[in-house]
């Protein structure tokens, strides 16, 4: 029923996104585990879910194979877990684009899922050794220098201190200053995709086709995009992907003269950015909270409160030009 659009990337395609989106918060308990492991674990949960709910069957059976190929300890460590209801699921951070990247690189999408949790890492300047036609060359690079304990980056386990940052949301960082890269990451913080060269190359995801051939010591070292860049793949995957990338601005319209209203009436549509463009059910309470928070920062003087008619608070952001 569903076209198998997704690549072999673990949680990459729109469908996958949906799937990964459905994970119960309960499972975050297991996220601080060893790098590489927890991902596989998540997938195994997916397959469990598939078994029960027959959701996205087509794509997931394919993926399951990849899972088995990746690591053997999946079967060994599988605690018994109760799967929550779909409306309690939320997106998680993930490794993406495994099929198009060199094995020595890793592209990580960090989801903040609307939480206040900081991204929780620091970057620094450093030098990196690259293989060029003229031999080995020392070039300046950007590296992860520190993880905030309990922060998002640490809890995903997908990034580590001394990983070299190669791209931010598909844009190479070569030639950019530390401040520029910082600003790029912050500007993309609602949906940050960083491509790194992990300092620890032993946990690399090994593709099934090459399982015997390559080790963690990768052949790639140029750091340039010999592989398709993120933006092109993102375009190829369709509008769904783009929409989830978008945060919406809040617009309050009023028709003068204003009729003062003590408390804004509840909005009819969810506002939380991470939920934008997704199903509406079951998330109203949470988004109301965030709306109130935003509104409280906007209006400090009650005498200047705007009329907030029902449906007057709107979101937008369906049209995106990159």
């Amino acid at each position: 029923t569903r076209p198998a659009q997704h690549k072999s990337g673990l949680l990459y395609s729109p469908e996958c996104n949906r799937v990964s989106y459905k994970f119960s918060p309960v499972k975050s308990l297991f996220w601080s585990g060893e790098k590489g492991f927890h991902l596989l674990f998540l997938l195994s949960c997916v397959s469990e879910e598939v078994d029960y709910s027959s959701y996205g069957t087509h794509s997931l059976t394919r993926k399951k194979k990849a899972v088995v190929a990746l690591r053997n300890d999946v079967n060994r460590k599988r605690p018994h877990i109760r799967i929550g209801m779909p409306q309690d699921f939320r997106p998680v951070s993930s490794i993406i684009d495994v099929d198009i990247l060199p094995e020595s690189h890793r592209r990580v999408r960090l989801y903040r899922h609307g939480s206040d949790k900081p991204l929780g890492f620091y970057i620094r300047d450093g030098t990196s050794v690259r293989v060029t036609p003229h031999g080995l060359e020392k070039v300046p690079g950007i590296f992860i220098s520190r993880m905030v304990p309990g922060g998002l980056a640490e809890s995903t386990g997908l990034l580590a201190v001394n990983d070299e940052v190669l791209e931010v949301n598909g844009i190479e960082v070569t030639g950019k200053t530390l401040d520029q890269v910082t600003d790029m990451m912050i500007a993309n913080s609602h949906n940050l995709i960083v491509t790194v060269k992990p300092v620890n190359q032993r946990n690399n995801v090994v593709r099934a086709s090459r399982i015997s051939g390559s080790s963690g010591q990768s052949s790639d070292s140029s750091g340039s995009t010999g592989y398709p860049s993120l933006s092109t793949t993102a375009m190829a995957t369709g509008a769904d992907e783009l929409e989830s990338d978008e945060e919406s601005d809040i617009v309050i319209e009023s028709t003068p003269p204003p009729a003062p209203v003590e408390h804004p009436s509840p909005p009819t549509r969810p506002l939380s950015p991470s939920l934008n463009g997704l199903s509406h059910h079951g998330t109203l309470r949470e988004s109301n909270d965030s709306l109130h928070k935003i509104l409280s920062t906007m209006r400090t003087d009650p005498r200047h409160s705007l009329a907030l008619p029902r449906g007057g608070v709107e979101e937008d952001g369906t049209v995106i030009t990159l």
């Binding site: 530390l178 617009v251 009023s254 003068p256 928070k293 049209v319």
Partner: protein
């Protein structure tokens, strides 16, 4: 097929881009930072200034200017033109000599370096032997005499820099030819001065540091006379008739020696210490020039009594009974005197550290001549600037005549420097650059062409009561005072009251209304009046807190307004005043002269003021309850910025002391700089700070009726829109103007909103107020739907109107890592055809790059690196014109002018021709060599350069907090 067509469109777009955009840094306006040497060519009528950073700038008649930069980052210590030629020689403090020439190319002269040279001594000789201390460009035009630290004089053939070893004048040759009591026993020390005999070019005078001077015959290669001075020598002058030599000394004395006659030893005719009795400082330079009838002019630099006036920077001019000690505002670098042909001295040209002063010597009272260029922009520190293009002639003339009344104390004589021909076409329009200063003044500059010429100065201090005593400056110049000081120059960096500082300026060129706003929340509305007028300026208070509780303002107090009527001279006269409460610095200001409204914003909120009825229409608080910092006022905040900056500078300076590169690398490896990846949170400080205010006549609430509207953007990414209701013209004076909140937009990325713009149905920016009424702009398209462009530091986002929904955007920071610092709207005309042009946004980022962003499609068009990203004050000072040009400060005293437009370029085009050789040997004098004054202190001051930069950096940060990248500062603090 489709692909082909697209390719065709792309290449056509590329061609159009080339016709529209082109980046050039065209000319530097203002006074060079840290000048270190001065030269003058009487035959070319050109003046040359060398700077501590290795720049060399040539100036002739107004509009004739050239600039060169030495590859070495070393200070220029001496500049000498070769007599009767278009070549000049510069000496740097790394002991290298450079030959420059003005070469004609396509009918325009260019300044080119054509050779460089460093003296090589005999093998094994100490470096002092070849360290050049004095340079003489011989009037034959092909010889250079170089006196050195070791006391030798080397002779070099130019322009090729060929050493003529056999003609060198070694110390041994000299000591052998003077009596033993002068040469043998004493060390002569370095060569202090080299002078040519004005009547016999084969004779040169060599002055040694210890005092002995020797007249050397170049043909016979022997000393023909010696002058037995015994005081440490500072400078030497050979009188025009060749009969006398004047020497000045380190004890403040000068001597006259008779050199005519056959006696090998000269007699001392006169020795005098002009400011005598008590110990005096050295006279570093002496010049004497004859007049046709009557006594000569004598010029002495320095020589003041050490204890009482040792800190003054003086040049004494003595002519007959007149004796004046010109008291300058900063250290004297060098001076020379211009003469009318062979005759009378006509003007004294003095280069001091912060300005160039020219004194008219032929007019009674020796008034100062207003300089057409090299004007000290920084006479009080620049705090903001505002550019207005295409000024109507009427306003231009009124401003000029108001300015003329202020300049009556200047000499009526034309500018004495006349070299070169200015070939630049007349500027296509009249442009004004307004600079706001720390002392509360606004200066109006003619920025139409290559010369940034001062037109008019407005002072706002008179409206307020300040601590300064207006009689302060009248205490000097009392009768019979000795020395007879006279203050000259306008550099005055001391501000009476920092609250007077001007932060924002907006001028309506059609109505002549001007509004200026300052550091203590004061907003003045002024109108141009051709007559002097006495009036009381009443203040209206705008309480921006609007009853918010829990805030306490810890900053400065409001300025106190004079209650009695004040007389204002012709020019811009204030008639309305708004004072914000709390009195925080005004961060945004806009005037709408058609609606007679002024809107202003601070870190607490914004207000709308009706200057016809003189009342507040609207006051809106934008404070975030968690925004505590906004209440602390500038002082406590600045202290912490200052502290962190000082620390980071200390770090930089420490690393420069040692081997720069090694230490830097080592530091990087030991303690790397880290940046935290932390998304912007609503609790960030200063979110309520108003960054931009905009008036627009557009469709705010329904798509069939356009209404006046006011838009405000804050640091926290909020946009507020108000619908304005203006009474009909006939009851504009009585019926109130009202403002109703219409929209609020919160950008989710929360970046500061730096610009708001409404585009009409054709996608063109709305015209300025009154522009259409004056038939100078097409009326905006009101048929098609308007759109709203919100420019934040990170994104350009277009929304539909009247219902606000996002249409398209450009996410600059996400793709490039840079942030918008400055943005302007410009019209770019094609350089191929007159009838094609496009509107675009000119953008300067925190990386110092310039971008053009197309309208209404918000696509990046071109990108040019322009300013070093470390140059925070340069980036903050940038101002764009409406025709794709711009200005930014490259030092406290200099604007760099640049152009992004391929059509609209203002750059110097001038031609200097080789002068016809005049046989008269009396006309040209060898160049004064006063640059030696500079040499000794050059190195020490390099160290200060850093300190100065730091203070500049700090000041800029204090006064333009709004422009700061607050995040960067936080990084600095970390």
């Amino acid at each position: 097929m489709k692909r082909f067509r697209r390719h065709g469109q792309e290449s056509q777009r590329e061609r159009i881009k080339q016709e529209l955009y082109g980046f050039n840094k065209t000319v530097e306006h203002g006074f060079p930072h840290q000048p270190s040497a001065l030269g003058f060519s009487p035959s070319l009528q050109l003046l040359a200034i060398g700077t501590r950073s290795g720049a060399i700038k040539l100036y002739g008649g107004p509009g004739v200017e050239f600039m060169g930069l030495h590859d070495e980052n070393a200070a220029v210590t001496q500049v000498h033109f070769l007599p009767h030629q278009v070549e000049l020689v510069t000496l740097l403090d790394d002991n290298s000599l450079h030959m420059w020439t003005l070469r004609a190319h396509h009918g325009v002269s260019e300044l080119l370096e054509i050779g460089r040279f460093t003296l090589t001594g005999p093998p094994g000789a100490p470096p002092s032997v070849t360290c050049v201390t004095a340079v003489l460009a011989h009037s034959s035009g092909d010889l250079l005499l170089l006196g050195t630290e070791g006391g030798h004089v080397f002779v070099v053939k130019v322009p090729g820099f060929r050493e003529l070893e056999e003609r060198n004048i070694s110390l041994e040759k000299v000591t052998n030819s003077v009596p033993e009591e002068y040469g043998g026993r004493r060390i002569l020390e370095h060569v202090e001065s080299l002078q040519e005999n004005p009547v016999n070019q084969r004779q040169v005078l060599i002055g040694y540091g210890r005092g002995l001077m020797v007249i050397w015959d170049l043909d016979s290669q022997s000393a023909i006379k010696h002058i037995p001075a015994t005081q440490q020598l500072e400078s030497v002058w050979w009188t025009e008739d060749g009969g006398h030599v004047l020497s000045s000394h380190s004890d403040g004395s000068y001597c006259r020696w008779k050199v005519a006659g056959d006696d090998p030893q000269s007699e001392q005719e006169k020795s005098e210490v002009p400011y005598g009795h008590f110990p005096c400082k050295a006279i570093s330079k002496i010049i004497q020039l004859p007049t046709e009838q009557g006594p000569p002019f004598l010029f002495l630099s320095g020589g003041m009594p050490r204890a009482s006036y040792g800190d003054r920077h003086c040049i004494s001019v003595i002519h007959s009974k007149t004796h004046v000690a010109l008291d300058f505002t900063s250290r004297i670098i060098d001076f020379f005197v211009i003469r009318d042909g062979p005759g009378e001295p006509s003007a004294l040209v003095v280069l001091v550290e912060e300005e160039l002063v020219v004194i008219d010597l032929q007019t009674e009272g020796w008034p100062v001549i207003q300089t057409p260029y090299l004007v000290p922009l920084h006479c009080s520190a620049i705090t903001c600037s505002h550019h207005v293009s295409a000024i109507p002639l009427k306003l231009w003339e009124r401003v000029l005549s108001a300015g003329a009344l202020q300049n009556t104390h200047y000499s009526k004589k034309p500018w004495p420097m006349t070299g070169g021909q200015n070939l630049a076409p007349d500027p296509p329009q009249r442009d004004l650059l307004l600079t706001g200063h720390e002392d509360g003044t606004v200066r109006f500059w003619d920025a139409s062409g290559v010369c940034l010429y001062p037109m008019y100065k407005l002072s706002t201090a008179g409206v307020f009561l300040t601590d300064s005593d207006p009689n302060d400056n009248l205490n000097q110049g009392t009768e019979g005072e000795w020395p007879p000081f006279r203050k000259v120059g306008c550099f005055d960096p001391y501000s009476d009251d920092p609250r007077l500082g001007i932060q924002k300026i907006h001028l309506c060129k059609y109505s002549g209304y001007l509004t200026v706003a300052g550091t203590a929340g004061q907003i003045l509305v002024l109108e141009l009046n051709d007559e002097a007028a006495e009036q009381t300026v009443e203040a209206t208070v705008a309480d921006l807190l609007q009853g918010q509780e829990g805030f306490r303002w810890k900053g400065h107090t409001r300025l106190e307004v004079r209650e009695e009527p004040v007389t204002f001279p012709p020019g811009f006269q204030p008639f309305a005043l708004v004072q914000c409460q709390p009195p925080a610095v005004v961060t945004a200001l806009t005037l709408h002269s058609e609606w007679k409204l002024v809107t202003f914003g601070t870190s607490h909120g914004f207000g709308l003021y009706d200057y016809q009825q003189k009342n507040n229409v609207l006051v809106r608080c934008t404070l975030n309850p968690s925004d505590q910092l906004a209440m602390e006022g500038p002082l406590s905040r600045v202290k912490s910025i200052k502290k962190s900056l000082r620390q980071s500078f200390r770090r930089i300076r420490r690393s420069r002391v040692n081997d720069y590169r090694n230490v830097f690398l080592a530091e990087m490896e030991l303690a790397p700089v880290q940046r935290k990846i932390e998304p912007r949170s609503p609790d960030d400080s200063f979110t309520g700070l108003v960054r931009t205010l905009y008036f627009a006549d557009t469709f705010l609430s329904d798509s069939s009726h356009n209404t006046p509207s006011l838009w405000a953007g804050t640091n926290g990414g909020s946009v507020f829109a108000y619908q304005l209701r203006l009474p009909p013209v006939e009851c504009r004076g009585e019926d109130p103007v009202t403002a109703h909140p219409a929209k609020e937009i919160q950008l989710m990325h929360r970046a500061p909103v730096v610009g708001i713009l409404v585009l009409d149905g054709h996608g063109s920016p709305l015209p300025e107020p009154l522009e259409v009424a004056h038939d100078l702009a097409r009326s905006p398209d009101m048929q098609g739907s308007h759109s709203l462009l919100v420019i934040s530091e990170e994104q350009f986002k277009v929304f539909t109107l009247p219902k606000v929904s996002a249409k398209m955007k450009l996410k600059l920071t996400a793709i490039d890592g840079s942030r918008v610092r400055r943005v302007g709207v410009a019209w770019f005309g094609s350089n191929r055809t007159d009838d094609y042009g496009e509107s675009g946004l000119t953008v300067l980022t925190n990386q110092g790059d310039l971008h053009v962003v197309s309208l209404p499609g918000v696509k990046l068009q071109v990108q040019y690196p322009c300013i070093r990203r470390e140059d925070v004050s340069g980036i903050a000072s940038c101002v764009f014109t409406k025709h794709g040009q711009g200005f930014y400060l490259i030092s406290p005293s200099e604007f760099e002018r640049f152009s992004l437009s391929a059509r609209c370029v203002v750059e110097p085009r001038s031609l200097v021709e080789v002068p016809s050789q005049t046989p008269s040997a009396t006309l040209p004098r060898a160049l004064p060599d006063g640059a030696s004054v500079e040499r000794s202190s050059a190195r020490r001051v390099m160290e200060h350069a850093l300190l100065n930069d730091e203070s500049e950096y700090l000041r800029n940060n204090q006064t333009t907090l709004t422009e700061l990248n607050l995040n960067q500062l936080q990084h600095l603090c970390e």
